[in-house]
Symmetry: C2
Subunit: 216 residues, 2 copies
């Protein structure tokens, strides 16, 4: 049972061998978390799964929480790299395309490793609050805010801050819900269409010219 709750790394791995140990531990933690869930993922099991002793585990991670936190960080970093890569390119494109990019990137981000994602989302809030995982949403939110600011003139919303919050929350929730409860939808192009439509219609987008792509 937890004594303190340190979350920072204990020792820097410098040699090649030790970096491999750390790597094995992180990978094993992810595997065991997926297979057993947080509660049943004991540090002994994780060490065993990594082919490493408990002692070594505690040489690099001061606590179980720290270990899990490291896995979480890594996962979030993966997702963030997806988000950033795609969204920076979307800023200068018209809404229908930009919205589609947002939707796609959210789906892609959630598809990084869905099972791990699920465990992290469902069981790990206890470790550090949802804050960490929320960073993906935060990132998307800030980029969306920028986008809306730049395109305010062609949109029919007043409060851009709220609009950004609403757009990101909806898109995030829809991808999230799809991953968890309707996995079949993820490959479905019409799902992307619909989510995109939510955004476009909510924002009251009007095509600048005779562009017949949207009904409504």
């Amino acid at each position: 049972m937890p004594r303190a709750a340190a979350t920072k790394a204990r020792k820097q791995a410098t040699q090649e061998r030790s970096r491999a140990t750390v790597e094995a531990l992180l990978a094993a933690t992810a595997r065991v978390l997926v297979r057993e869930g947080y509660d049943r993922a004991s540090t002994n099991k994780i060490a065993a799964a990594a082919g490493v002793s408990v002692g070594s585990l505690y040489q690099y991670f001061p606590s179980k929480e720290a270990l899990v936190a490291a896995v979480q960080d890594r996962h979030v970093e993966h997702m963030l790299s997806e988000v950033r890569a795609t969204m920076t390119q979307a800023v200068h494109r018209p809404l229908p395309e930009a919205a589609r990019e947002l939707v796609r990137v959210m789906i892609a981000a959630h598809a990084v490793s869905p099972k791990l994602h699920r465990v992290l989302v469902e069981q790990i809030p206890r470790v550090r609050g949802l804050a960490q995982i929320e960073r993906v949403g935060e990132e998307a939110l800030s980029m969306t805010r920028v986008y809306l600011g730049a395109h305010a003139s062609s949109l029919a919303v007043e409060d851009l801050e709220m609009a950004a919050f609403i757009v990101v929350t909806c898109v995030e929730a829809l991808t999230h819900a799809a991953v968890l409860y309707r996995p079949a939808l993820l490959g479905d192009e019409s799902f992307v269409d619909e989510v995109t439509a939510v955004v476009i219609r909510y924002l009251g987008y009007r095509a600048p010219e005779g562009d017949a792509r949207e009904r409504t």
Copy 2:
């Protein structure tokens, strides 16, 4: 640590005194869960908080999980009663009003006891999956499905099943996000407006007559 994982009640409380004990246990469980979180909410603490002995606790609940599950059921039942009461009346009203009702009832449902709700959502999935809490969403989903079916002619969506999923997911997520991250928005009438707008615009609603309430 858990041995089996029974989730059903152990003994029916018949006398007045024992019903009070059960009641005290449920109330105390909710309190302790909120105060300590699932992990630190030990059965001994709960019993103490209820002014009852551990032995008595196990006379009515075969496991910690069963106890928490009972609290969860009760909470969901509260939320559901909110949802059902309001939504059955909304079926015969035009979209702008019905959508507003949906939004309001979701906010109301989440406001039943937000702190407990948060714990239940964030920490309890492990107990029975999210399935239980999701029942609120399921209920709203099925009622929304019915509504959309009845009003299909005045809407601009094709796949009603998907539309219902999208509408409920968005509204649920927005209220949920507001409860967790933007509590200030909950009292804000313009938040209700915006969420309602998401629904109305997505569904491509056109007022049957000269009704100037909506832009877009």
